[in-house]
Subunit: 276 residues, 4 copies
């Protein structure tokens, strides 16, 4: 009994064994198929034409997902840990709406939440070396987390102030600045250089301030880019002074400068090195 459970656990939760790998790949294909179905259903012409096929296919996938969900619960030692985990909640949310659609009209559309399951792709990628690269990106982003946080807070305050000012200037016009929240929305649209054009200033003063916001946004983009780039570059050369990987034979201190002949920590002579 415990044996097939442990086997099931290996297949479902692990991705290193051939069986686990196969399971994950099949699961990914099913997820992609289910998302394709949801997409196609939302396209009116297609939904009216092939409604029956879509319905059946969705039921098949929903039942497979249901089986998977219960298999996950059964095979794990502490089911509550999975059920209330991030993926557990997503798995439930992406399965339930189809059943609800039998009773409640409209709940069908919640199936779109299934797109969230796509994030499982990152788990499957753990298989490949991709995760290493993705880790690099994560590490760089992590190292610049606070800087980026300060930056985003600054952007938000700036947009609030600029949005309020633009509301004062443009609210009398027919230019879409109907409320402060909308004006702040416009300021974000402009500062990030998206520029829908659904709201655009009409007065000369409004256009003047908008110009300043644009140039600001155009220049300010240098800040997050600079932060992240410096972090990436830092990880590349880890120091710029070129540290080597030697370890002091006496005190085990690491991260010595290249060409260093003595330990910076205890003064012990370092072995002659053969760095690249």
């Amino acid at each position: 009994m415990a044996n097939w459970k442990s086997k099931l656990h290996e297949i479902i939760y692990e991705a290193d064994t051939p069986a686990g790998k196969l399971f994950d790949v099949i699961l990914l294909i099913l997820i992609l198929a289910s998302i394709l179905l949801v997409m196609l259903e939302s396209v009116n012409e297609f939904a009216t034409k092939h409604g029956d096929f879509l319905n059946i296919a969705e039921w098949v996938i929903t039942i497979l997902f249901t089986i998977e969900y219960f298999a996950r619960i059964i095979s794990i030692k502490k089911p509550t840990k999975y059920i209330f985990s991030f993926y557990g909640i997503i798995d439930l949310l992406s399965t339930v709406p189809k059943y609800l659609s039998l009773f409640i009209i409209g709940s069908q559309s919640l199936i779109a939440l299934r797109a969230l399951r796509l994030m499982r792709i990152f788990r499957v990628l753990k298989l490949a070396r991709y995760i290493g690269e993705s880790n690099n990106i994560m590490r760089a982003l992590n190292a610049s987390k606070i800087k980026i946080g300060v930056f985003i807070m600054f952007i938000l305050i700036l947009c609030t102030i600029l949005g309020s000012v633009m509301y004062l200037i443009e609210s009398g016009q027919d230019s879409g600045f109907t409320s402060i929240p909308r004006s702040i929305y416009w300021a974000i649209v402009t500062l990030t250089t998206v520029g829908y054009g659904d709201i655009a200033p009409l007065t000369a003063l409004g256009q003047f301030i908008a110009s300043i916001i644009m140039i600001l946004g155009y220049g300010i983009i240098a800040v997050p880019t600079g932060i992240v780039t410096a972090e990436f570059a830092n990880q590349h050369s880890k120091g710029g002074v070129d540290l080597n990987t030697q370890s002091c034979p006496n005190c085990a201190a690491e991260k010595h400068r290249n060409k260093a002949e003595y330990c910076y920590n205890c003064g012990e002579g370092l072995h002659p090195e053969e760095t690249d």
Copy 2:
């Protein structure tokens, strides 16, 4: 007398003591609440429904801000210094409109200026280590101040020239290039890659020049980014492993790692240091 004044000063102006910290946090919450109120009031549906509530809440906050304003004036030795400071003027501007609204219709909308008080958030943040990161950003921006100034001036001249040229080309069309200032506005919208689309060239020649402006803007964004990034990278590699400015008393080797106790070049003991 002087005692409670100095106590009040400590609470209001300083952010390092627990009382001062608490005061700043409460103030920040009040500012955020007042901004939320201003936002909600500008939304028509909400304003007509909950007009009374908004009015009362705004009066409460306005009176609290008034008390704070006078407390600031009383507790400081040179009140004029505060009154004419940047924050002093903002504090006044964000409190007065509500009182004015009793006499002058329309002045109410100036309350939106209260958003400017949000900048106090940076003062409160002085508490936390965020200021260190924000200082880094500031230092990098400061170091590249002149380069960025030259760049922005170049952009403005370019937009003036291109706007004038586009006015010559497109002014006969029905494409929105009705005056040179508007054309310059369009050139800024285009060069910064915002692209509202409220003004867009219709002639073949206009579209050709617009294409050049776009590619220019797309490429030119590399300049501020390059400037700021190089500055960030520079601070990293200056920092990075954190080299200090000590010189070995024996061999005069420099650029030792911080906390290094022995010269990496000759193994001589370094002087105990007091680096930051």
Copy 3:
């Protein structure tokens, strides 16, 4: 016989000899001319006015291209290798539509595919030192291939999820979110800061989420930029002053400057080198 074939091969396929160079430049001019013709033909006013001239000019170029196509087949030893190569297929696709237009109405417009021949320009550029610079770009992009792949996959998943969520929020409105694929299209338009404005959120919640997407897109652009920049910088500092991989025969010091004839560490003469 084999002689003129080999001569023909040299002219057509090689770009290092004067004859081959001349052939490639003439070919490039013909391609540019043919693209200009296709462009002009698609402009209605011009096509109706100068239809005859366009038709004759296109026939002349098509025949020249046909001759070139057969010359390429004849002069190569393994014609199938050319025919099924990338350029072989493009060459065929850009020649055939004109002939088809004699029989099938509408196939004429496929001539636009001739623009693909423009890619031959990169072959001709092989002549100049441009290829070196272009190689640098390629090497940098190549080195960051996987990182960029992970990044694009992340962007696509993000857009799928955000598009689905926006569909749920905005599908009842008259704002253009008529299906999930369209909503995903909108999410891409917004995240990449293009912002056409043909689809734009109307509900407060939709605009709130859109704002988050924009700030995300505005910040996230730092990631590919950071990746590529770090790679460029890496190639610089590897290159830069151009260090070679020699090792001093006396003291084994490395990272000598290119062309260095003596070791910077011990003054020993270095071996004569044959670096690029």
Copy 4:
């Protein structure tokens, strides 16, 4: 005689003497005033109201510019050198239209070309240290000139190909892809993330390809940024290996590595250094 000429030359052409400096600053103010006048004249409401004032002010400035133009010709030894120089042609073009407007109706609008005179600002800036910073920018851009050239050519070819493909897909629709040049214009608008929205794909396939173009444009912006940033960073650390400013006492070779004790060129021992 020659004396006042040389004096005039000093005032007009040189910017290092107090008189020359004053002249340049006054000239710059006049240029800015004249541009303001041209701008105001293009605004209809203003032009009809203050037409007389504008006309007189423009005549005054035009006459001042005329005097300056002739003074420049007189005071230089080889007048043709100035007349046919870049600035000489601009100076003429910005003065003549006003005179032409007496004879030819409509030529007045050419006065907008006066904006080109703004470029003189860069000459005046030669005074200040700004020119140093601007030189830095120029040097970085210059060093990456070829790389950026290759990049822009690649962008143009890409836009031509993508525009042609989109024309094939969307030309039947009512989406604005009426000709290939317009489609190429759209491709540039999209790839540079400007996104006016005056032309936007309507078919599913068109939107799919547009999405690819956007993601491409969003990612590709990393390339010029990376090139320029690496160049800036390079100028910062001029090598990354840290070169010093020593000159070999024997062979005068420069750009030695920091810490180098022997000349890489002739093997001569270098002086002990005191680099920072």
